[in-house]
Point group: C2
Chain length 446, copies 2
């Protein structure tokens, strides 16, 4: 047991690293006193928020922050349709799913209509972690195996089982002995070979399992490789990966917690960009725009035996308030054509960022799909530049724009604005970014 | 992999077992189509609910049910203070805990004030399962062990890790090889020996672990042994059990998902009835009166190393809406003295049930504390009578009163009314119960 504070979260506030305003110091102190050591704040100078509206977060003192980071409040903060749906249903009924209720059925049918017909069942949890945990339980039951394959810097959640296949949590959360990693499809560094290298990695992982007598349960993949550094391309190779895991007796699980609900701009679900049909799909974060609701969608034959024999009950999962929130989110995405907006705004933002890369050599790559955008920050020879990345993230925060970082080298800017982003927000983002790019000497305010 | 439908849930609706009203058949059919095989309904004839208010649930057709089962809506269904708190906060802010926010600190301080001073940290999750899962992760980290001791028919939740130490899930969810069971403190059958038998069980379990080279991580105990059959007495022996697990290097975890938040009538937390100071406490169900919020409370030195090194982040856990709901619940419990009410109503209900036991020999035992009540249903020689238990549960449902069953023999009526129960509800409950007791020939309506 090491007592060194973990440094695997690149963008964490380090207590005592720099002086804070007094009111903020007091909050930090209260927080450490009651919440303890496990909680992290973001940014060298954390932010204090008391209100959110649309793309904006506000401090009690009236500072405002453009939220270009949060993949939960996908419709914008405090969206009135969601808030009203929650308020209405919370005053009528919120009980468990062992009674017949219309809300869960109405929502489930509408949700399943967004999937290919073969994905015909849905099950509800409270968090994406619970969804991935349930998917893993089902995969183990169905296959009789335990082995898991994930990408190099994957994040799938924080339950005991799921944290064991979430290498991005860092060395203090060790991988399980049954967990095997494959390279991420890093087409910035691997170029045209990226897909082949991932697929070869799956073969190597399956061989390594076999050599240890470990039977495969699943290959689980974030369909846009968010914590690996966001790789929207290459595409389509995931179908071949799914074929390999199935041939070895395992399941293919698409983790859509990041790429789902239209974020990629062209498809409701990230796996559709790859023309792969998953056995199980997991979803979470934006599903309730902040209300705790998540779940899995599945081919019914995959969950049938598990369901008959092991059953599943999640006290709050799929309750009527959760379903009302989720229904409001789905209806708004569809009626306001937010997926289209994500595509247009994402294209516009990436174009502007790519233009900056001509003048600022530290921008090694601009990539992504829709409003899931990665900007790779490098030194000479494409070497990951974590220091400059941290400077940019904190510089943006000082200018009132919230982003963070990801990737194995902690050197990819993670940009995930709400799907309601507008051209003026792209302008604000780019202006702030150029300002901090052009002033390498300081992360301080203009 | 067996394909027989599991029968370990005593009170489950069996599709096709008896004819249902047509609208209900249609809902059951929709449910099976979209939710699949894992979901269970309660009762031979399920109930269809569309509204809840106070102690009552209502069907769209206006049938009403006295809810004497649900340990989530502890303040009553759709409590206005909770609904308003949720509505207000959902329209203002619901974002993650990596920004400074007042709501989580205000609630945490108020919550911790209900604990002994040594319990000085709180961490938030979305469900009781996630709370127990996190407690187990911490216990493993802190102790370097993996071994878990639980009671014979314990239920602690449904994540992959936690389901492995939840024997009540039945034989299709096998225990982990690192999990060891001890008898429940069944003072109905074991009498004055009950405590000693449990404590001896802990010794035997620790020996069994040692013989297998398994290092102990934790003893985890529902402080009122709900799924074991509800044992409010004997008391105090848990302090000795805690001493034993600590001497062996493990932690003592009090699972307060069932016994917490005043349900036992005399103490906010069930462990206080036993004069034991836990290392970790987990809580959930009634914490948000239906809003998905749960968590752990801990002695800060227990979570310190885990927190520094492994960190913890739960996207929805502790968000401002969850904290607003939880704050409204805690304030209401305190300002309306609901713990006192639970004690008085629980005493009254148990007294009336005990009086019935003189006339109805199938009532073997009436026990519990506050509004956590178990009624053991037996045949000759205290043999568990699951058939009669199922008849009583379904008979009560036909008379509009909702309860369920628990215990290793599925023969203990599980009675958990909301803490706002009033004398007239006790009357309704007892009248329905006597009616069904006195008509052994039928579970049908009067």
């Amino acid at each position: 047991m090491s007592s060194a504070r973990d440094t695997s979260m690149a963008n964490a506030f380090i207590p005592g690293s720099s002086p804070l305003p007094q009111t903020m110091e007091a909050l930090v102190e209260r927080r450490e006193r009651v919440l303890g050591t496990a909680y992290r704040l973001m940014y060298q100078e954390p932010i204090h928020v008391s209100r959110g509206e649309g793309v904006w977060l506000f401090s009690p003192e009236g500072e405002k922050y453009l939220d270009a980071y949060n993949n939960v409040s996908s419709l914008g903060h405090s969206h009135p349709a969601v808030a009203q749906a929650i308020a209405r249903q919370a005053s009528v009924l919120a009980t468990h799913t062992r009674y017949l209720q219309d809300e869960i059925l109405d929502y489930s049918e509408r949700l399943l209509a967004t999937f290919p017909p073969a994905i015909d069942n849905v099950m509800f949890t409270c968090s994406g972690s619970e969804a991935n945990d349930l998917a893993y339980r089902i995969a183990k039951y169905q296959t009789g195996g335990t082995g898991v394959i994930v990408t190099e810097t994957a994040y799938h959640g924080i339950t005991d089982a799921v944290s064991q296949f979430s290498p991005s949590l860092g060395p203090n959360v060790p991988l399980g002995a049954h967990v095997f990693k494959v390279p991420a499809p890093d087409n910035y560094r691997l170029g045209a070979e990226a897909a082949a290298i991932v697929l070869n990695g799956v073969d190597v992982a399956l061989d390594a399992m076999a050599a240890r007598g470990i039977k495969p349960a699943a290959l689980i993949v974030d369909s846009i490789f968010t914590s690996d550094g966001i790789f929207a391309e290459p595409r389509n190779f995931l179908a071949a990966a799914a074929q390999k895991i199935r041939a070895a007796g395992g399941l293919y699980i698409a983790d859509e917690v990041q790429s789902g609900f239209g974020r990629t701009g062209t498809h409701m679900w990230g796996f559709e960009r790859h023309n792969v049909l998953p056995d199980l799909v997991t979803m979470g974060k934006p599903m309730g725009n902040g209300f705790p609701v998540a779940g899995i969608a599945a081919q019914s034959q995959i969950i049938r035996e598990f369901g008959l024999n092991a059953r599943y009950f999640n006290t709050f999962g799929g309750n009527a308030v959760a379903c009302a929130a989720a229904m409001a989110v789905l209806e708004t995405i569809q009626s306001e054509r937010l997926m289209d907006n994500a595509r247009q705004m994402g294209d516009a933002l990436r174009l502007r960022l790519a233009a900056l890369s001509a003048r600022y050599p530290q921008i090694g790559d601009v990539r992504g799909a829709g409003l899931m955008i990665g900007v790779e920050i490098v030194a000479a020879d494409r070497a990951p530049d974590k220091t400059e990345t941290t400077r940019l993230v904190n510089g943006m925060r000082k200018r009132g724009v919230l982003i963070s970082s990801c990737g194995a080298g902690h050197n990819v800017l993670k940009i995930r604005p709400p799907l309601i982003f507008q051209p003026e927000h792209v302008d604000i983002f780019v202006a702030a970014f150029e300002a901090i790019l052009s002033r390498p000497e300081t992360a301080g305010p203009l």
